[in-house]
Each structure stands twice: as structure tokens, then as C-alpha cells.
């Protein structure tokens, strides 16, 4: 039996393996960041939330790795006749929940700190015979935590585009959220050092709004996909242009039919309701608007012919 990935062209399969390698790298870096941040976190609000965020950012990576493995290895079987095409969509949903939840958590924590007028204590530690303000170590940790997500996020965006992978795209957003939180954290810790107790939380709150925005957008797209909505664009809940163009071409060819498109992970399914399909092979490249090298995204065109009405009084 075949797998979903068997139907992809070789360059797409290569890109998938590239994305998997990138996710493994990301997991390694993230674990090291979580360790360093955990050691220096102290009472700082932004440090604490940045740490939680780094931890949560493992969710999209793990979800991608599991989904990609299922797509590559999971053969169609008696129990799973359609293969594991939708594993990526489910992973996308999980990643979106993680992203939105991270933003909400960050906002809640920082607003609470502001409301309670909590003055964060950042004390000193004794290191190699010197008394060092813990803030300097926090700054070092934040700087370290800034670099990997910046680089990995940048590498992910073109891969997400090639693979038409919303899960990878959401992970790139998560990486953006991560390094932005890092930058806010640096501002917050410096502010804290200058005696502005509120700096830490205000910085965290501003960043959280951006993360919530990205999270809600991803959540809208992913829930839409899971309930068979029309295919969405990679980076927004707007309808995908390619899919709309495909629909227009099908409609032109079968004017009387009802054309329905949906998305399963990275591929598009078309259903032509009310038209009997042609007996000869269908010329998919003619119908597909986005060029032959992206034709792999068109999973199938299914025809649902009209039913003969049951005559009254029969049987």
C-alpha cells in the first residue's frame, strides 16, 4: 500500500525531510534555551513567561515531526484507507492552540503583575568569587535565547511556502513570538535594573498582544480546515487564491454543477456535485492554476453525478 508522501514529487519529499531535520535542530536548541533560562529566571515576569513560551514552542515541532512521519511512513490500510493526510491539519490545530494559549498566558501574567504593583526582586549570585547581579545573567540568557529562533524561523518560512505547510508556518510565527519576547525581555530586565518596576510587565504585555493576534489567526484557519472549509491562504484565514482560481476553472467547465473545495493538510480536494465525470482521464494540469510544479497539491477531483429521483408510487 502507498503512503501520502509517495504521491509527492521528489523535490517536495526532499523539502519535507529538510523541514524534519530543521525541527530536530530546533528541538535541540530549545531544550538548551529552556535549561539556561530556567537557571537564571529569578522573579522576573518576562523571564518566567519567556521560559514558558520556549517550552510551549516545542509543541509545533513535535506535532510536525509526528505528522510528517505519518505522512511518509503511514501506508494506506484497511483501517486508514485515506492514509494520514490530515495528520498535518491536526498538528496545525495543536500548534495554533499552543500559540494562542502562550499569548493569553503572557498577557494574563503581566497584567496581573501590573495590577498588584508587584516589584520584582532580582538579587545577586556569587559566581567565581564575584557578587554578580542576576540581571546580567538574565540578559546573557535572553541574548542566547534570541539567536536560534531568529535563524530557524527565517529558514522555516520558505520551507512552509514550498510544502504549503501551515503547521511549519505557524511554527515560524511561534519562533517570531519567541525572539520578540526575548527582545522584550531584554528591555524589561534593563528597565527593571533602572528601577522601573513596571518595565518588565509592560514589555511582556505589548508582545503578548502580537502573539495572540497570530495565534487567533492560526486557530481560525486550523479549525476551518478541520471542518472542511474552503482552502485558506498560508498565512491568513483568507480564502486561498489558487483554490479560488481552480474553482473558477471547474465552474467554467461544468457550469451546471456545484463545485466544492476543501483542504486536507497540504493538499486540495475538489468535488463536482451534479455532474457525471468524464470517462477518459482528466487533464488536471489544464484545470490547475498554480503551475505544473505545484500540481501535487491537487489531491483529486471527484464527481458526484445527479441522482435519479425516485418515482412516486413505485415499490
Amino acid at each position: 500500500m502507498t503512503t501520502i508522501a509517495d504521491e509527492f514529487p521528489p523535490d517536495i519529499r526532499d523539502a519535507m525531510r529538510g523541514a524534519e531535520r530543521l525541527q530536530w535542530w530546533k528541538i535541540g536548541w530549545t531544550v538548551s534555551i529552556v535549561a539556561v533560562m530556567g537557571l537564571t529566571m529569578g522573579q522576573s515576569q518576562t523571564m518566567k513567561t519567556a521560559w514558558v513560551e520556549d517550552l510551549v514552542s516545542l509543541v509545533p515541532s513535535v506535532a510536525f515531526l509526528v505528522a510528517a512521519r505519518m505522512e511518509r511512513r503511514g501506508a494506506r490500510s484497511k483501517r486508514f484507507p485515506f492514509g494520514f493526510e490530515r495528520a498535518n491539519g491536526l498538528g496545525f490545530f495543536l500548534a495554533a492552540v499552543a500559540l494562542a494559549a502562550t499569548g493569553a498566558l503572557l498577557l494574563y501574567d503581566s497584567v496581573m503583575t501590573l495590577v498588584h504593583v508587584e516589584h520584582a526582586t532580582v538579587g545577586s549570585v556569587r559566581l567565581l568569587g564575584h557578587d554578580i547581579w542576576l540581571g546580567w545573567l538574565m540578559l546573557a540568557a535572553q541574548l542566547y535565547a534570541l539567536v536560534p529562533p531568529l535563524i530557524i524561523g527565517r529558514k522555516e518560512l520558505p520551507l512552509a511556502e514550498t510544502l504549503s505547510d501551515k503547521l511549519v508556518h505557524t511554527d515560524a510565527l511561534m519562533n517570531k513570538a519567541n525572539w520578540m519576547t526575548g527582545a522584550a525581555g531584554i528591555a524589561g530586565v534593563v528597565g527593571l535594573g533602572l528601577g522601573w518596576w513596571w518595565a518588565d510587565s509592560v514589555a511582556a504585555a505589548v508582545i503578548s498582544l502580537d502573539i495572540i493576534n497570530d495565534g487567533v489567526k492560526a486557530l481560525r484557519s486550523s479549525t476551518a480546515e478541520l471542518i472542511d472549509s474552503a482552502p485558506r491562504a498560508l498565512s491568513s484565514p483568507d480564502l486561498s487564491d489558487d483554490a479560488q482560481a481552480l474553482k473558477a476553472r471547474l465552474q467554467a467547465r461544468y457550469p451546471a454543477a456545484d463545485i466544492r473545495l476543501r483542504e486536507t493538510g497540504r493538499r486540495i480536494h475538489a468535488e463536482v456535485h451534479g455532474a457525471a465525470g468524464p470517462q477518459e482521464p482528466i487533464d488536471a494540469p489544464d484545470l490547475w492554476p498554480a503551475g505544473e510544479e505545484r500540481l501535487w497539491r491537487l489531491a483529486q477531483i471527484a464527481f458526484v453525478p445527479p441522482r435519479r429521483e425516485v418515482e412516486a408510487g413505485r415499490g
Binding site: T121, V122, W133, W136, L192, W197
Partner: protein, 150 residues
Amino acid sequence: MKAALACLPLLLLAACDALPRDPAGSSVRIRATKMLRVGVAQGEPDFGRAASARLLGRLARETGARPRLSAGSTEPLLMALERGDLDLVLTPLDPESPWMTRVSLSPPLAARGMDERRVTYHAVMRNGENRWIMTVEKAARRAADAGVEP
């Protein structure tokens, strides 16, 4: 260029000293008024007395301020500290105490008993006064009884 590079570590050192500052200005006020308002827990076992005296001596030298002691029980003293009426409270405190998140503790000055029965004596500062907290922490590390592990 070389001169600038040579200056860099000096600049960094200067910057190291610039942070942190106190949101409520404790350090500046203590130096300006030459007075250090200290609360000492009364009626408590006084195993921390020697270390406390060493700590106050160090802080007096460091800041040029004279400690003005007021005695009381731990709870009212900590409340005064939280309000900003005291700069420092010397008291034994359980690390599991609910006060732990409301005030900042120095490393232990002295300790008594073992394991479950261990009680530690601390200098306690107002939360967020990071420069002052660091000053006290530094002094406390040097003033602590020999062999007291944090």
C-alpha cells in the same frame, strides 16, 4: 581604535555598577540621610545575633549610615518593611513562609538545628529594591557564620 577597545572593559565595568537601581530609592536615601532603619525580631532565639552585628557593621561602613534599631515581633516588622518604613529586618524565617514572595531574603546569616528542625536567620529587604538587596546580600555572604550553607 585600540584605545577604544581598551576602554571597552572599563565601560562595561562602569555599566555593571550602574545597574540595578531601586524603584523606591532605598540605597540613595540611606546614603543621603546617613540612617539605616533596622527592625530586629524580639523574643526570638538570638542565634543570629553575632552575624547580625557583623552585617550591620559592614553595611554601616559601606553606606556611611548609622543603624537605628527598633525591636518588635517578626510580623509587624515585615509589614513595616513592606510599607517602606524600614530598610531591613533581622529575623529567623522559615523558607516555606508565605512572606517569601512578599519580601526578599538575604542568604542565611546563621542557622540552628538540622534538617527538618533547621531554622535560618536572615536579613529581609523590601521586594524590588534591587540595588539595596544586592548590597545587603553581598554583605550577608561575608558576615554569615562560618559553615552556614544557603
